[in-house]
């Protein structure tokens, strides 16, 4: 009853907590009126333009749900319809609905599918914007798109026009060595035809270098920051005025050398203790030793479990030498992991001791019952019989013949005497017990002490 009550109380508490547990949201200030915020945005075309740009950058389509959809129609005219690349054209048009022109609305104007600018319609729905044509294609599409604000009752509409673009083609050539030692300078020569003063952007291995060139130019690229192996070189000359952009590619192999790393360590390491680890790196570049995946700081980490781990020596990159590593499998012994084993051994030892104690006690009762029932035993006599019970228990375990009171002490001793290591000791213990049971002569403390010593020699 006393144990059941706490268990019941604990279970009830658990159920109570499970019933009461409700995740709570963060405690935040109240939110403002959303309708007011929508009106605020709608009244600010510049802000709406920024929101559209933000949505476009993230690829988000703003959902427009007009309450009563009203179709719109937009017209677009581009003047002139032929332009030299880099020149400007004027895009104009009118935004209309069946109910009349739409004033003060934003119209997005795209040049070759890229948002170029926004225009706002005037009081009679007209819009106009100047566009600079920086696209090097024979035909470029200009598109005017009207997207109503959320909450507006209008539908989207768009219109397109085409502009013919005049420009000159240009060529770009690259020249670079096939191989470069890692860390050395890579010199890239560029030549453009026709020779125009413009920026050429050169990309190698993630790095970008810009050079202002006219005709021929050379660029020195430090290779220490590049990754060894084949690297693609890309050059891009931007378009300038009527001259179209040009690109060229080449490849270079960045050649690296591998340092020699050697590592020697004992096969077994002890957690928490320093280990005798020898290593060398030729040539002398910096290196870090890792044990069980973490840097070795003078001693084997204490919190790793007993088992096999990799001891790794990893060299740092130092052009022209690439990073390399040497590894050795080691066994780490952690004394803390043997605590469970020790605990289990202790438990088993105690259980065995307790079982043995009970069996000896049972044997003592058997030995005691074999003594005359009328005899009144002194403390020393009882100890002599207990000593005999211990001896009979040991020999019974060895011989497989268990003592019972059907034997006299001497008969049982004769049966198991060949299993005793010291037969004189057995005789001494049996004699003491017989005297205790059948004789008024009580064993002395010295005789008993001798008997206990003898027990260890059995």
């Amino acid at each position: 009853m006393r144990r059941v009550l706490p268990v019941a109380v604990a279970t009830a508490l658990l159920l109570l907590i499970a019933a009461l547990y409700r995740p709570t949201g963060p405690q935040l200030a109240p939110t403002p009126d959303i309708r007011q915020l929508v009106e605020l945005v709608k009244s600010d075309p510049d802000l709406w333009r920024l929101i559209l740009l933000y949505a476009e950058e993230l690829g988000i389509q703003l959902a427009v749900k007009p309450q009563k959809p009203i179709s719109t129609k937009i017209t677009l005219h581009v003047q002139p319809d032929k332009v030299v690349a880099g020149g400007a054209v004027v895009a104009s048009g009118v935004l209309n609905t069946s109910r009349g022109p739409l004033p003060r609305q934003l119209v997005a104007i795209y040049v070759d599918k890229t948002l170029a600018t926004f225009a706002t319609t005037d009081d009679i729905g007209r819009f106009q914007a100047e566009l600079r044509i920086g696209v090097y294609k024979p035909q470029v599409e200009i598109r005017a798109v009207y997207k109503p604000l959320p909450g507006e009752p209008y539908l989207e509409s768009n219109a397109t026009a085409t502009v013919e673009v005049l420009y000159n083609k240009t060529t770009l050539r690259l020249s670079a060595p096939r191989q470069v030692k890692w860390g050395d300078v890579l010199t890239i020569y560029i030549r453009q035809d026709p020779p125009i003063q413009r920026a050429v952007r050169i990309s190698v291995g993630g790095g970008t270098y810009v050079v202002e060139a006219r005709g021929e130019a050379a660029v020195d690229v430090p290779t220490a920051a590049l990754t060894p192996g084949m690297q693609k070189i890309t050059a891009y000359a931007e378009g300038r005025g009527p001259y179209a952009p040009a690109t060229a590619t080449d490849a270079v192999e960045i050649v690296a050398e591998t340092p020699q790393a050697r590592l020697e360590a004992p096969p077994v390491l002890i957690a928490g203790l320093p280990a005798e680890i020898r290593y060398s790196v030729i040539p002398n570049v910096s290196a870090v030793l890792y044990i069980a995946g973490r840097p070795y700081n003078g001693a084997v980490p204490l919190d790793v479990a007993t088992g096999f781990y990799d001891l790794v020596l990893r060299t740092a990159q130092a052009p022209p030498y690439r990073s390399t590593s040497a590894a050795q499998r080691v066994f780490i012994l952690n004394a803390a992991n043997f605590v469970p084993l020790a605990a289990a051994a202790a438990v088993v030892f105690i259980l065995v001791k307790r079982a043995r104690k009970e069996e000896v006690e049972e044997l003592y009762r058997e030995v005691r019952n074999a003594a005359p029932q009328s005899a009144v035993l002194t403390i020393q006599a009882e100890e002599a019989l207990r000593l005999l019970a211990h001896a009979f228990y040991i020999l019974g375990e060895r011989s497989g013949v268990r003592y019972s009171k059907m034997y006299t002490y001497r008969e049982y001793a004769a049966k198991v005497t060949q299993h005793a290591k010291n037969q004189d000791c057995l005789r001494h213990i049996v004699t003491l017990a017989e005297r205790a049971a059948y004789s008024p002569h009580t064993p002395t403390p010295a005789e008993l002490a001798e008997g206990w010593r003898c027990l260890d020699q059995l």
Binding site: I17, Y21, A29, L37, L47, A55, L62, V339, P340, A343
Partner: protein, 214 residues
Amino acid sequence: MLRPALAALATALLLLMLTPSTTPYSPHNPGPDGLSKFAAMCTLADQADVFVLAPGAGLPQYNVSASRTPIVDPFINDGDPRAPIANARGRPAAAPNATPLTGTGTPIVYTSPGSFAGTTRGPFPLALAVKTGNKTVYIYHAALFSNRAIDKNLQLAKEVCRQPVKVVVADPDPAHLLHEHLDNARPWAAPAVLTAISLYLAVKKTAWPPRRAK
């Protein structure tokens, strides 16, 4: 008297251990506003260069804190004005119940220009890169990684989890505090318990009367 007190203490600790935290944005909170899914993806550590800050919490050493004023975005949101969609290095990231991060640093995740916090207009930073000495620490708002947002921001979460992360919450409950301490003590818990059992058994053994005394 001692035994019932110890039993009551053990029961209380067990109950707290079995009870999930209700602290918003706690790594031990499995609710919609908890960070349990994020915590399962990441290595949480006390020493980290990446921080996740819950509303109301702060990092005085970097002079950065998360306010308690919710960000509302009427246009660029995840189906609810209180769930703005932030720009996380060019990718959209849902941030339900987000609040602005305040402090110096370079914004790396931010809300749209049409978002509002109270009467203030955005964009508001939801992640800051703060240079300190020769290193850069990254501070993210916890709303980006809550259990209700993590599935939509999985890529961002994976990028953030490449380094050990420290989660800072405001007003932690006892279950959160206990789990924090348990996490710190976990490597040594099993050996400590087994050692205690061994010592207990050893003490009990020496308390038994010797064979001769019997």
